[in-house]
């Protein structure tokens, strides 16, 4: 079993490009019923990074997880900072109601 701290430490040691504001990993079960890690890539507002730039970030995350001994498959979600805030507020509202 992989703990989230290990993953956060691994990602914290990576030097990411400037467009990436932060990463937010979560461990959950994927559609095959296996434990996996979802990494939200929160990017700065404005034009989205290119697929090639995001591909490099994915590679860096996978390499860091592998180096830390994390064997879970990593999935990615990309959101701008504003979108992420907006969706987090929506989530809180839905939770309260």
């Amino acid at each position: 079993m992989t703990d989230l701290d290990t993953i956060e430490r691994a990602l914290g040691a990576v030097s990411f490009p400037d467009f990436l504001v932060r990463t937010r990993p979560e461990i959950d079960i994927d559609s095959l019923g296996r434990e996996a890690v979802w990494v939200s890539l929160i990017v700065r507002d404005g034009p989205l990074p290119t697929p090639a730039q995001l591909g490099d970030v994915r590679d860096a995350v996978r390499a860091a997880l592998q180096a830390a001994g994390v064997e879970l498959w990593a999935y990615f979600r990309v959101r701008t900072r504003t979108e992420d805030r907006s969706m987090s507020r929506g989530r809180k509202r839905r939770t309260r109601s």
Partner: protein, 166 residues
């Protein structure tokens, strides 16, 4: 190939179809179409590779013989770059280009699952658009893979992976 192009165009249209806040239904269908664009490209190439193109009846049957979950299993294995022993003895390790295509397939498959079935999962427009872009880039990368022998081997793996384990 036309179906792939049409599905990608549809996925992009759905990203923009709503003014202001996009409807989740539009974004979900967009993500799903992006996955199916790549899926149908691989299936079409797989059927052609299986050399049944001139047998229309068999071709139709083969189109339906590809199994999503099996294809996903193959994609993850190739994306990780480490093939199981019984396969590694027959195939070279996947190139970086093929690994990227396989990774896209695996990620899009999971996203499509949530888009179609998980009502608690919300998509943002930018998030959905990155999946659509990922599908478009993967489809282009697939067509441009320089090592066609590797690409053809991957298609056979997509079709017969679980039987290879016997």
């Amino acid at each position: 190939v036309t179906l792939t192009a049409d599905l990608l165009a549809q996925a992009e249209h759905l990203l923009r179809v709503d003014r202001g806040r996009p409807r989740q239904a539009s974004l979900r269908r967009s993500v799903s179409a992006a996955y199916y664009a790549l899926f149908h490209l691989l299936v079409a190439d797989g059927v052609a590779e299986l050399a049944v193109a001139k047998l229309p009846g068999v071709r139709r049957l083969h189109c339906r013989a590809f199994v999503h979950s099996e294809m996903r299993e193959v994609a993850e294995t190739f994306a990780r770059g480490t093939l199981p022993k019984h396969v590694a003895s027959a195939l070279r390790p996947p190139s970086a280009g093929l690994r990227r295509v396989a990774e896209a397939f695996q990620e899009l498959r999971e996203a499509r699952h949530h888009a179609d079935y998980n009502v608690y999962r919300r998509f943002s427009r930018d998030e959905a658009s990155t999946f659509v872009a990922q599908a478009r880039v993967a489809a282009e990368a697939w067509r441009r893979l320089p090592d066609r022998e590797e690409a053809r081997s991957f298609l056979h793996a997509l079709f017969a992976w679980r039987r290879w384990k016997r």
